[in-house]
Symmetry: C2
Subunit: 571 residues, 2 copies
Amino acid sequence: MKTLADRIAVAAKRAAPDLVLKGARVINVFSHEVIKADVAICGEFIAGVGPDYSGERVLELDGAFVSPGLIDAHIHMESSMLHPRRLACALLRCGTTTIIADPHEIANVAGLKGIDFMLRETTGLPLDVFFMAPSCVPASPLETSGAVIGPAELKYLAQNPRILGLAEVMNYPGIVAGSQELLEKIEIFSEKIIDGHCPGLGGEGLQGYISAGIRSDHECTTTEEVIEKLRSGMVIMIREGSVAKNLQDLAPAVNSERAGRFCLVSDDLHPQDIVGMGHLNHILKKATVLGIDPVVAVKLVTLNPANFYRLHDRGAVAPGYRADLVIFEDLGEFKVRSVIKNGRPVLEELDQIEELDLTCPDELNIMECSPVPPNAFSIPCEGKKRARLIELVDRQIITKAAIEEIKGVQGLFKPDIERDILTIAVVERYKGSGRTGLGLVRGFGLKRGAIGASIAHDSHNIVTVGADAIDMAVAANEIMRMKGGLVVAEGGSVIKRLPLPIGGLMSMEPLGDVSRLLVSLCKEARARLGCTLEDPFMVLSFLALPVIPELRVTDLGMVDVNEFKVVSLFL
Amino acid sequence: MKTLADRIAVAAKRAAPDLVLKGARVINVFSHEVIKADVAICGEFIAGVGPDYSGERVLELDGAFVSPGLIDAHIHMESSMLHPRRLACALLRCGTTTIIADPHEIANVAGLKGIDFMLRETTGLPLDVFFMAPSCVPASPLETSGAVIGPAELKYLAQNPRILGLAEVMNYPGIVAGSQELLEKIEIFSEKIIDGHCPGLGGEGLQGYISAGIRSDHECTTTEEVIEKLRSGMVIMIREGSVAKNLQDLAPAVNSERAGRFCLVSDDLHPQDIVGMGHLNHILKKATVLGIDPVVAVKLVTLNPANFYRLHDRGAVAPGYRADLVIFEDLGEFKVRSVIKNGRPVLEELDQIEELDLTCPDELNIMECSPVPPNAFSIPCEGKKRARLIELVDRQIITKAAIEEIKGVQGLFKPDIERDILTIAVVERYKGSGRTGLGLVRGFGLKRGAIGASIAHDSHNIVTVGADAIDMAVAANEIMRMKGGLVVAEGGSVIKRLPLPIGGLMSMEPLGDVSRLLVSLCKEARARLGCTLEDPFMVLSFLALPVIPELRVTDLGMVDVNEFKVVSLFL
């Protein structure tokens, strides 16, 4: 254990560093420069940055770039479908040393038990994982979640030093309207950080939302929105993840003068994207391509998130800062050569850390429902009827509410392949209620079979869409049997499955396997079932989310989001 | 008492504001812009900023500028010679709504009793006064102070939420050398803010100093020094006060890109300068003249100090921020039209606040010493001898160590008016020791009489300089009689006095009176005694400070600062 005196002695060259990064080009996020220097490390901290540090243990960098370890200010770990320990290792390999995670997916499934699992499984890792306490569990009264995070649970969470504040307050209309229940939650965190989520909000509504003490937003889609929110005091988190990609549109708003007011975040990151692209290292590369100065871009994923989350010990390569560092080969590709956490190179030990005592606690194998009969998802329909239909919108998670005439045969609707009108069903999985919501959707293009998933934002009930009601039942029953997962079914059989035993959201398997399996499920859905979407499971996972316009389906039935109520399938 | 719900309702225009600033030009420290808008206030906070807010109580601004209330990140209140309550009111009149004060002057005199007085007398005012715990009391073992602030005292102070951290760590050689006593102090504040003070420090010494966790400096004198410290992670506080003026030299280092890393501070502010120029409003004016963009300059005295001291509720005109505002007529002169603190205009009530229950506690009337005989300050000297001499340096607080031959007459040295070699004496005033240090000084130009003061950094013993040893004794005895103050004496009589009964540092009188009296004391010293200095009391007050090169005098005798030891007067 190194003392403060040791660190000062190293900085002042009276003692040898534990590690020297020699011949570095150091990214300076204070002055927006790259400066040639050595970096002297003592224990877990940087002692000094300057010329001519030397010691026994030296990493010769030959001009490689030393950056502060990357910090993702907003990520939902569950979206990776990985055990949190495996995700931590995957992110470290990309140069990330700190994340601020919102565990609201697992919280919807398992409440405090789920959050405790995330906390526990991310303890003692070389990735520092901080959390925000989920503010909106459940997201809506128009669905059934596995748990409720109310004021009592939030007070419990607020005591944990690893919980930095209140996670994205998604119910922005509720805040603007002054909902007492929401304000009670806000007040629990009045001395901490409160993250926002207010797509498109402006004018006095935005003023109302921010006046509650909400100081960040990651939902901007235009530079005009960025500017209004920035002027009003928000830190703008530009999101570039697997689901939403805003960097191209928003990059023009970033310049060196305003650089202190932005972060770059991933929000949601799917396994195949981690494999194919990476994490913040990929976002840095893209930011640079889009014209953001690379040093400024680095600041957006280091010093800025550290400052925003009041992590005063990190975010810069400077004396007294935590020695969380990533060494990049270049500032174009941002290829990671080495990652140092708390003063120690960590890439070599990740394989071992990842496998050690990996557990899936029984209490997260949550599947309180019984197998459904083969006709469970057949929609009764006598003759021709006008029905509500969820219409997918290309590359967006909003949907359109359409109305189409459908036809029953022998009293039942049969998915209309010709017109791409398929059946979608959501089965409640927490209370054993057997409650099932049925609806219609257009846009998947399935010609046969069905797909199903236990990832269905935000409550994560079982959702299935199909060209065949029996295959939908097969998919749902297989998900129940696996206690969570993704399934492709056809001809009454399961064709392919990805088990997600941790809360129905996360796998126990390594990133490579999860990614390959997911890719092959999507491929089967396309090749075998005729699906026209690149990633039908991702699209499916948002169709049960009754807070995004216009039409959704939950276990309670179809939901008109604009009207904020359950509506009948038939008009 | 307004609730969060009230504030949101006002922002969202569902309820009327308590106060509207109508037709403002709002200084936006996030985007570096001036934007036309109304500012809606609810209770102590800003609810919304935007068009068309209205309510019963409206301030029509007609395009006047609304700025966040000004924040001085580093000030020693005692330098004003005012009761802290009177200073608070004077600063508010200049647009200042928050200060971070280092009470090390009163701490050297009275220890915790002195700091408690400062805390108590600045409670409940419309100026928010935060403190830093003095790190270096006494400043040096080469003088006798009235108190010692050690680790036990610092632990007591660290519990007070109004004490934000450890004040300027002036003993930078001690830090770099790893002094265990200093590091113990540092570690008490490892989770709080630690201010620096390291003039001219660079290279590995600077790395060592900063690696201790010290994150600010206000002692830069060149842009090169600024850049090195800024790159190393320090926030640069550019000082422009009554004693040291660095703004002209350092202004070129400030630009909009680096604007987040600077503050503007006063450090020391004398009463006549507050009357004649103001406070941060004056510094803003000067910064603008020197080419700093006025909006950037405002950021340096609002958002930046708020961020640095983790005062997350203030520093911007934005929803949810504390309604601490100053209304300027313009951004050139920065003429203050109105000041709003916690949502209420305050200028009108300051006269009343200032006089209410103004007390000088007996425990701060500290003068534990006995009158001296008329010959107390006569220097024994047989014939010609070579002696050490403090040589003043024009407009600087450093001195030069000179050596001159002096001559005794009847065994005593008589000040040599011709060669401007005067006697200087320091009398210990806390322990009743009667200990007196005698020395020689050149640069005051006194032709007759003497001046004396109980302001003598940092220990604030009694210091007197004179062309006449008897008048020096008259001055010292009058200071003892008043229990502190400034004196001009001539011909065996007191000519003029300024009593400073609060610890020998501060007056009970209003700013105008203190300023006038001080000016007239200086005038008497010049006109009547022939002094060639503009403000001889200010110069005198630094001659007993044995931490600034090269030669000083304390109650222990002459001190060679470079050698860090007491030296004999004669060689």
